[in-house]
Symmetry: C2
Amino acid sequence: MTYCVGILVRDGLVMLADTRTNAGLDNIATFRKLHLYQTEGERAIAVATAGNLAVSQSVLNILTEGLENPETGRIETIHTIPSMFKVAQFVGRAIREVYRIHGQSMEQQAASFDVTMLLGGQVKGGRLRLFMIYPAGNFIEATTDTPYLQIGEHKYGKPILDRAVTSDTALYEALKLGLVSMDSTLRSNLGVGMPIDIAAIRRDDLRFEISRRVDDGDEYFASLRERWSAALRAAHQAIPNPPYDKP
Amino acid sequence: MTYCVGILVRDGLVMLADTRTNAGLDNIATFRKLHLYQTEGERAIAVATAGNLAVSQSVLNILTEGLENPETGRIETIHTIPSMFKVAQFVGRAIREVYRIHGQSMEQQAASFDVTMLLGGQVKGGRLRLFMIYPAGNFIEATTDTPYLQIGEHKYGKPILDRAVTSDTALYEALKLGLVSMDSTLRSNLGVGMPIDIAAIRRDDLRFEISRRVDDGDEYFASLRERWSAALRAAHQAIPNPPYDKP
């Protein structure tokens, strides 16, 4: 399994991804799922992947090696495409290209062609945007109403986002809430594991302000986990017990 | 969808279930999913159901109408079986009986035979126990290591239970945590809806100390939801922002 989340707020964008992959329960490995593409001052784009690892690695290769645009006949890459909307279309085409090559054989082997991606970032001249791209290559976009998108094992970490994240949330607050959401998922699902990769882009900055791996030795994340646990304990202890014994 | 949870602590047992059923997104109704069977001083048993409504209603009918025990030839009901373990076996047999009658036809219609049940309670002379029964009629039991069991849409409400519930949790504290877990699920999944049914049995009391429906007008539950939200907000606000801008 996997858990990735992107949060798009007024100040910018944060993206977080765990690194655990597993084939069954007994074949667990660490693979980077958050991939960053930056030309400082021109573009900063992050792609997070969930689903079949062979499929997502193939798609990522196509993003940098390039794919012919059927309309212009030119080879495009994630480094050259002139707008985020066109990048989303391009990622969708890359997924369909992998399906064209491997899809049928995978289905014959009962391997499901499941891949979902988060695509966030900004290209000079355009807006900072966040998309979720489906296995069919179609996609949706985060809006001010729903400023976050999740892929993979999304349910454990959703309640805190539903409660706390709005498009007015400050950038580092959004990162903190993403880490809390990740923490809930890590605790409840063995298929999601440390280390986690995080990235942040400030709107119109066209570079990654944060791009780092948070591992088991990270002091801040350890303290966030501990404080969050303690606060939850205090929170439910402060609520009085139900009065339902009185009929 | 459905969310039901049972928590077995030293003091007793609580069970909670929502009441929303849906066939698709546009056919939503309210059905009781928590069913109580009590002979005061002799037995108090609760059954919560998730999955196909036709299947679970048929099973519930068999529980009270009775089923022949293949070993003794006698007709047994949930009111007469002499131990909780035998009741769990009986519920399993009832599920298999419904499968025998409807299973094949349902599969022909591409309707999946999915039903999962929580069975909790105590019969005089035996222990207070909590089981989860699968569609095949087999079952597992809650233990002091894992004192709660969930069926249905379980992920949203799992983090708080993972963090806060132990077998030493007091009975009304467990009920409160069950309500917090239900609240998280209600907020994040439209398939789970109010009102909710709750029950509590104190160990060796052989009667339901609580058996009530909590609806939208319930003051305590409204205040629990509000306090919990406010506490979560305060909790994450009290955590400092990530220091990850310093490279």
